[in-house]
């Protein structure tokens, strides 16, 4: 500030220059940090690219071989011809999409009810639902399985083991989803909802015309969250399916691991092939993620 007091034009320009170079140094530093974390995030995945293209049953070789010496496609060929990889991938897509769609519908509806409607025992019910959020998946695995077996008889085989409804429905219940949706609806200005009531809209019309359009960001976030969770889900699809017709990728790939000998090249190839479609799906939806980020703009 002394410089300013001098009123010397030269010094002022120097200061300006220094502060702008400081700014660019700062932005370069922040850029460097981001690049570093990008390497940390994406880099480790490279460990599976090399073995996927190598004709070896080994994890690694001595000395470390970072690049395959020849471009070997046998692992992929094995997956595509000797396993039901394509079927597994399709099933995973059906499973994860099915769960996501149903979960989004029931979660937004219930979230709306908990955020905006009055009914007896609301708090108690919500508390109970939240409590079940903390149940470890492994703990309810067997009871859920038996339940689906039981439903098999009662729904004439519609909801049962080795059926998509039986695989999908139990996973659609996510207390977290209801919690997130309720939280989001509560952040919408209550005036909107009240204005619509005054304007004569029924709850259903308020939900579809006013609340739902404003919930797009939250729906995308929850949707991606649920999809990812189910994409990686292993335990439930494992017990709920017995055949390749309904088995999903995670289960299929687990069965490629022998008790004593594992063909790491095949596993790496499978991992790589699993990553490609999900990355595409993610890239497709990521612009929605941007929208989710500007959710705040809607808040008046």
């Amino acid at each position: 500030m002394k410089v300013l007091a001098d009123g010397d034009g030269q010094d002022l320009i120097a200061l300006e220059r220094r502060s702008s170079s400081l700014r660019s140094a700062k932005s370069a530093a922040s850029y460097a940090v981001l690049v570093l974390f990008t390497i940390i995030s994406v880099g480790p995945a490279l460990y599976i690219i090399s073995p996927a293209f190598r004709d070896s049953k080994s994890l690694f070789s001595y000395p470390p071989q970072w690049l395959p010496s020849e471009f070997f496609l046998g692992n992929f060929q094995f997956l595509l011809t000797q396993t039901n990889y394509v079927r597994w991938a399709m099933n995973t897509l059906i499973f994860a999409t099915g769960v996501t769609l149903i979960a989004l519908v029931i979660d937004t509806l219930a979230g709306y009810a908990f955020a905006r409607m009055q009914f007896p025992l609301k708090k108690t019910l919500f508390g109970l639902i939240l409590a079940t959020l903390m149940v470890p998946t492994a703990a309810v695995l067997a009871p859920t399985y038996l339940l689906v077996r039981f439903l098999d008889d009662w729904t004439f085989g519609l909801v049962g083991i080795d059926t998509f409804p039986g695989l999908i429905l139990p996973m659609t219940v996510s207390p977290l989803g209801v919690f997130m949706m309720r939280q989001f609806i509560e952040t919408l200005p209550p005036g909107l909802y009240e204005a619509a009531r005054i304007d004569g809209a029924s709850e259903w019309r308020i939900f579809t015309r006013i609340v739902l359009p404003l919930m797009k960001p939250a729906i995308v976030v929850l949707g991606i969250f649920v999809f990812m969770l189910q994409w990686a889900n292993l335990l439930w699809p494992l017990v709920a399916t017995t055949k390749d017709e309904t088995r999903v990728l995670t289960v299929g790939i687990s069965t490629l691991q022998g008790q004593f000998v594992t063909n790491w090249g095949v596993i790496a190839a499978a991992t790589l092939m699993t990553l490609v479609p999900i990355t595409v799906v993610f890239l497709f939806f990521q612009k929605w993620f941007v929208q989710a980020s500007v959710a705040g703009a809607l808040k008046q």
Binding site: L146, T242, V251, S254, G258
Partner: protein, 443 residues
């Protein structure tokens, strides 16, 4: 138990895997022919009494190509019998979770493959049919003599046979012969010799500029089932972790502690084996393949993969060494079970008989490299190493089993891992294990 085994397998050793009916048949349990009245049809006969029946079949794979192979094999079976079989591949890591849910339901898999630990774990909960009656039946009379009593009896718990033995596991010591030649030492036949040979090789390799070479590796961690590799040495010391009646834990016995002490010494005192955690089992195999490990104890199923890959040095398998040169074999057994709730138990028995046939057993094991449980199967397919491996069944001693076996092996494995981590004394570790085991057995 060992006596039975030795006697019956002597025969196997002598006849080199050819079909021989020498095996003693007079030992078979009192036959109870009434239990399998429908099962008189031979596989391959023109009438197909179970035509149209569909069986559910659960199996964890021994290799990534198993599914493909089963499609072929099961097709043959269906052609012969008209029985359809739906295979579910069970991943090893989640095997117990899958079977727990499945066996809890009304329609479990009709036939499954089970290792000895799981056989009693689920068997004692009523999941599997007792096959005692079936193997004494008329339709099995031809096959029965090919199953040594020792192998059958090892699978009997509380008088019940929950599964028909299919394969008998063994472990082998893979040795890098080049390293032995270079150091001028012989393949060891006792624990002490192993340490000496390992040290000599490490010294020799270091002198030759080959850095970071280790003498020996065998898994000692819970994650790699340390107990599995350690039990043979316990048996070599004439002991076990559990009393014969399965009622008393003997984790603090001299045999158990002695074996653990030896295991710990290899790492902590003699330093011929890498510290726990540096290499797990898979990583150590890579180490061996890369010529940085002189000896590694592992499954003989590696023989085929090593041969396929072609290791860049001379190698061989040897009998794992034991205390004072006494060497027994230990591994678990694989069985075919029929679910107690199966609605097609008789058809399932047809399938089990087919799976246990000499032909199928030979086919399967020539690919996956186990020792067949029946004498007339030929798993070596002319391979000298596999034939040698099969001969080791002569000194095989199986797992003392109990419905609580997994629970009991956990403190054992934990104690072994603790001792091998060089931070806890063997006495302390196994005193704790003994206490825990006693609590588990009490209630």
């Amino acid at each position: 138990m060992l006596g039975f085994m030795a006697a019956s397998v002597m025969v196997l050793g002598a006849c080199g895997g050819t079909d021989s009916d020498d095996a003693a048949t007079d030992d078979t349990a009192a036959s109870d022919t009434g239990s399998s009245d429908t099962g008189s049809s031979d596989t391959g006969s023109s009438d197909k009494p179970f035509e149209g029946v569909t069986l559910k079949f659960g199996k964890a794979p021994h290799g990534e190509d198993e599914k493909d192979n089963w499609n072929k094999w099961l097709g043959e079976f269906t052609e012969q019998t008209g029985i359809k079989v739906e295979l579910t591949q069970v991943p090893w890591d989640q095997l117990e979770a899958l079977y727990t849910a499945n066996f809890a339901s009304d329609e479990p898999y009709d036939v499954t493959y089970q290792t000895s630990a799981h056989l009693t774990l689920f068997g004692e909960q009523g999941s599997f049919e007792d096959l005692t009656g079936r193997i004494a039946g008329e339709d099995f009379a031809v096959d029965r003599p090919n199953f040594p009593d020792g192998v059958i009896n090892a699978s009997v718990y509380n008088g019940k046979l929950y599964g028909l033995p299919f394969v008998v596991g063994t472990t082998a010591m893979f040795v890098n012969k080049d390293m032995f030649t270079s150091a001028g030492v012989n393949i060891p036949s006792s624990g002490d010799e192993l340490i000496k040979a390992a040290k000599a090789i490490m010294k020799d390799q270091k002198a030759k500029g080959n850095k970071d070479v280790w003498g020996f590796y065998v898994p000692r961690t819970v994650a790699d089932y340390g107990w599995y590799w350690n039990l043979s040495d316990v048996h070599n010391r004439n002991g076990d972790f559990l009393s014969a009646d399965g009622k008393t834990a003997t984790m603090d016995s001299d045999a158990v502690k002695g074996a653990a002490q030896y295991a710990a010494d290899l790492i902590c005192k003699e330093k011929v084996q890498p510290e726990n955690g540096l290499y797990n089992r898979e990583a150590a195999i890579e180490l061996f393949k890369a010529g940085k490990l002189a000896m590694i104890q592992d499954e003989p199923s590696r023989v085929k993969t090593f041969k396929d890959e072609g290791l860049p040095f001379e190698w061989d398998i040897a009998m794992p060494v034991g205390y004072q040169g006494k060497a027994t074999q230990f591994a678990t057994t694989g069985h075919w079970t029929i679910s107690a709730k199966s609605k097609n138990a008789d058809a399932a028995w047809e399938f089990v008989k087919w799976l246990s046939s000499a032909e199928f057993n030979s086919t399967y094991n020539q690919r996956y490299g186990f020792v067949p449980a029946r004498l007339d199967a030929d798993a070596s397919g002319g391979d000298e190493m596999l034939a040698r491996n099969a001969s080791w069944v002569a000194v095989w001693d199986g797992l003392r089993t109990s419905p609580k076996v997994n629970q009991l092996l956990d403190p054992y494995g934990q104690a072994l891992e603790a001792a091998a981590s060089c931070k806890t004394s063997v006495d302390d570790a196994f005193a704790k294990a003994q206490k825990q085991a006693a609590e588990i057995l009490a209630g």
